[in-house]
């Protein structure tokens, strides 16, 4: 089993590959890996309540843990509660995962 932190920096309207990336997170989780998805920059836009977060919800339903960069949320005026169960974390979260041996991939 591997630990993954997939970083998604874009939102679905920017590229079709964003939803594919969420799906990949789900596939990696389905393979028995410990998978977290960290949203940063415009990647946090889907977690505003009322935004279209279905694709993210599908990933979390498959066991992907969802996090969002606190600063990116604040920068865009996105406040709790967050869609798809996203948990805000400081950017340090990424560094901590890099240090604990997690495979970290930026998209």
């Amino acid at each position: 089993m591997n630990r993954y932190l997939l970083i998604e920096s874009r939102e679905p309207a920017e590229s079709a590959s964003v939803v594919e990336h969420y799906e990949l997170a789900g596939e990696l989780a389905k393979r028995g890996n410990d998978v977290s998805l960290f949203l940063v920059q415009n990647g946090v836009l889907p977690v505003r309540q009322g935004a279209l977060a279905d694709a993210l919800a599908k990933a979390t339903a498959r066991g992907v843990k969802l996090f969002a960069d606190e600063f990116s949320l604040r920068e865009r005026g996105i406040e709790a509660p967050f869609a798809a169960g996203a948990k805000p974390e400081p950017i340090d979260f990424v560094v901590e995962r890099m240090l604990d041996g997690t495979k970290v991939i930026w998209h």
């Binding site: 591997n2 993954y4 590959s17 990949l24 596939e27 990696l28 389905k30 393979r31 890996n33 495979k103 991939i105 930026w106 998209h107």
Partner: protein
């Protein structure tokens, strides 16, 4: 010991005319020469890099002509000859209207379902 690297190239034709190559494919060449153990996976529009019939020749600005246009499919073929596996996602190839015969023989097609498995197999995954 160098870890095994999977280099996923998704973003094609970005600045390739100015650079006269794809800088990520070029980077793979140099890293291989420096001892890296790598596999390159083309997906998204970057699968078009494996097309045999690419011809960006003839670019000119006033009197200044481009004398060495990019030959990305040849760069991929030579990368494969150096021992770097060059893979492409089969469904993405079809998405762009390409068939196996349109592609250089050195590229190996893999189904999209294989991508999570590949990611699991490599120590480092760099997604360009």
């Amino acid at each position: 010991m160098t870890k095994k690297v999977l280099s996923i190239v998704e973003n094609g034709f970005r600045a390739t005319l100015e650079e006269q190559d794809d800088t990520v494919i070029w980077f793979a060449h140099v890293l291989k020469g420096a001892g890296a153990e790598m596999t390159v996976l083309l997906r998204g529009n970057a699968v078009n890099y494996a097309t045999k019939k690419q011809d960006p020749s003839g670019l000119a600005f006033g009197d200044r002509k481009q004398t060495r246009p990019p030959r990305i499919h040849e760069d991929l073929a030579s990368l494969a000859k150096k021992g770097v596996a060059v893979l492409a996602v089969h469904e993405d190839v079809g998405h762009y209207g390409l068939k196996r015969d349109d592609l250089i023989p050195e590229v190996e097609l893999v189904p999209k379902t294989r991508v999570p498995q590949l990611i699991d197999e490599f120590d480092r995954v760099w997604w360009w």
